[in-house]
């Protein structure tokens, strides 16, 4: 009987053996998570889609080195995405995220979608004004909804450091939103 919902470890085992369908299944399972994480760091839908594909290509190339006893597959994906973004920040100027901030396929109801898009746009604009490591912790903890422990593993920091960092990040974001509101008024 075919397992209609195989576990990550089963799919990884098959992918390591060269099964591209199994890797495709992993891709479908985590593509949106990784896209969302990248999207809230860059604010550019097309670039985020390209980078999402790049993350999975890198993972495919190094799949036989994956150590499940050290890190979960999902955390590993975020870590690869994080490193890709760090390299990108170092080698390129940031994209003009505010003018290009568009959201996709969120709510079927156009009115709800409009309201939520406006909220997301405002938050994304505020996120773009805080320090990169604050952006990182905000994206991982609240947009990707990862635990303190997972966030710590991906960022290469202790859980305690992540707790402190998330407080500072939220404070910085609150100030950024406040300044934006003052400007608008």
């Amino acid at each position: 009987m075919v397992d209609i919902n195989p576990s990550d470890s089963e799919l990884i085992r098959r992918a390591i053996a060269g099964d591209t369908d199994a890797f495709g299944a992993l891709y479908e399972r985590y593509m949106t998570d990784i896209y969302r994480y990248i999207y809230f760091r860059l604010g550019d839908a097309r670039v985020s889609e390209d980078l999402t594909g790049t993350v999975f290509l890198r993972v495919w190339e190094s799949l036989d080195r994956f150590q499940p006893d050290r890190i979960s597959f999902r955390s590993w994906l975020y870590r690869v995405a994080h490193n890709l973004l760090v390299d990108r920040y170092r080698t390129q100027k940031p994209v003009d995220r505010l003018d290009d901030f568009t959201l996709h396929d969120r709510q079927p109801d156009p009115e709800h979608r409009l309201i939520d898009d406006e909220e997301s746009r405002m938050l994304a604009k505020a996120i773009s004004h805080i320090k990169p490591e604050y952006q990182e912790v905000v994206s991982l903890r609240f947009i990707s909804e990862l635990s303190h422990a997972e966030t710590a593993r991906i960022m290469g920091r202790s859980e305690g450091a992540v707790r402190v960092l998330q407080h500072r990040a939220l404070e910085a974001l609150r100030r950024s939103l406040g300044q934006a509101a003052k400007k608008d008024s």
Partner: protein, 437 residues
């Protein structure tokens, strides 16, 4: 006070995430922070509500097929740098009687650590095999340094340093395929460069002690090993994305410089003659003065491919200098003061080396050097602005480090001005005060 609020916020968020507690329930847990927590928790909830953003339908529909079409069969397991180098060493019986297995040095250093009360065995085993970015990597490097100090014979020290350099190559390969950051890759490459400089030091020390036959035997082995390194690094380089290739170029230059150094020491009696020489050497992280000897001076008329190789190397190192300065900024922005100070010293060193190598290039290919100098000068203009901003931003104790870099910057600009006093428009960069000495 502040720390308690961090903890209260973290705990409240966990209660909301895991126990589905609502805002009021969480605020009741910490009445003393009610006002501060309420704002932060509401903001966290607003962010979480944004988490349903998805890629476009078109992307989702085609993404899997597009990805699968790009998937290449992975190489067969086991054909990696470590195996290549081990095969090479085994085939040639190199160091068989001299190299201790890695396990033994881990045990020796573990014993030393235990003697010092550090409970070293577990740490040593865990640290060995760690990679840049791992918490234990620093311990791994310290254990290697300790083992070198405990080794008395120059041949054994050279063999060990070469083995450590090969560990770095394994790390470079591992990092490249596992998608780690450029910072980690740079750390491994710097480690490789450093280990190769140790190898060259040991050889120079043996040669200068009058042990010429022992030094020649060692030189022959090291030269062959470094040739393999260059080849292996080149093979990995061909497989990595273009954005990572400059890191490999640095390692290739280092292995070539190591070979050049060996050839320089034995310029009259090198057993295999003098293979091609890369004059990219003076940028090396090799002992100062080692290449300044008569034998080490690059030939008057260097081969054109070697000159071209040096030009390419300088070109890539200018880009690497940009990245290094970005790292400096990152470290200071994140209050990693010691890392920032170390990075700015590396920047200063690399900057001086680049200016020196440009001078060397100008002796062989003036047009090429002129073109690169224009590019270098343009990059330096931007660097000056960044450095001057940093002087105002960093803590007081870090200012002397930035000042050192600024001094190196001024010296480098002077070297460039002297090289092309008429041809290159080298004026004060826009951000540089006119009166700076």
């Amino acid at each position: 006070m502040k720390k308690s609020l961090d903890a209260a916020l973290a705990h409240s968020l966990e209660e909301m995430e895991r126990e589905n507690k609502n805002l009021e329930q969480c605020l009741d847990l910490y009445p003393q922070y009610r006002h501060e927590l309420e704002e932060l928790l509401r903001l966290a909830s607003r962010l979480t509500a944004c988490s349903d953003v998805q890629p476009s339908s078109a992307f989702q529909a085609q993404a899997k097929n597009r990805l699968q079409a790009k998937l290449q069969p992975r190489r067969a397991a086991g054909v990696n740098v470590r195996d290549r180098i081990r095969t090479y060493i085994e085939e040639r019986n190199i160091f068989r009687s001299r190299m201790k297995p890695k396990l033994s040095w881990v045990l020796i250093t573990a014993l030393v650590l235990m003697t010092l009360g550090a409970g070293g065995a577990g740490i040593a085993y865990a640290a060995d095999g760690s990679s840049p970015g791992d918490v234990l990597y620093g311990i791994d490097l310290k254990l290697e340094a300790l083992h070198l100090e405990l080794t008395s014979s120059p041949e054994e020290r050279a063999a060990l340093a070469l083995a450590f350099a090969e560990e770095r190559l394994v790390e470079i390969e591992t990092i490249s395929v596992s998608g780690a950051s450029g910072t980690d890759l740079q750390q491994a490459v710097d480690g490789y460069n450093f280990n190769i400089s140790q190898v060259a030091n040991e050889l120079a020390s043996l040669a200068s002690s009058g042990e010429e036959s022992r030094a020649q035997a060692l030189a022959q082995v090291l030269h062959a090993a470094l040739s393999t390194h260059s080849q292996v690094i080149g093979e990995i380089r061909a497989k990595v994305p273009q954005s990572l290739q400059s890191y490999f170029d640095q390692a290739i230059v280092s292995s070539q410089v190591g070979k050049h150094t060996i050839e320089s020491i034995f310029s009259e009696g090198f057993p295999e003659g003098r293979p091609e020489i890369s004059p990219g050497g003076p940028s090396l992280k090799l002992p100062e003065g080692l290449l300044d000897s008569e034998a080490g001076t690059p030939p008057e008329s260097a081969p054109s491919d070697a000159v071209s190789s040096l030009a390419t190397d300088i070109d890539q190192r200018i880009s690497a200098l940009d990245r290094l300065l970005a790292e400096v900024q990152d470290h200071f922005t994140a209050s990693r003061i010691e890392a920032g100070q170390a990075a700015i010293l590396s920047y200063k060193h690399d900057l001086e080396a680049l200016a020196s190598d440009l001078s060397a290039l100008a002796q062989h290919d003036e047009a090429q050097a002129k073109s690169i100098t224009a590019q270098f000068d343009s990059a330096l203009s931007i660097h000056a602005e960044i450095l001057l901003q940093l002087v105002d931003q960093v803590p007081d104790e870090s200012r002397p480090f930035i000042e050192q870099a600024l001094n190196a910057f001024d010296t480098s600009r002077q070297i460039l001005s002297d090289l092309f006093p008429e041809g290159i428009p080298i004026g004060p960069p826009s951000g540089l005060p006119a009166g700076r000495p």
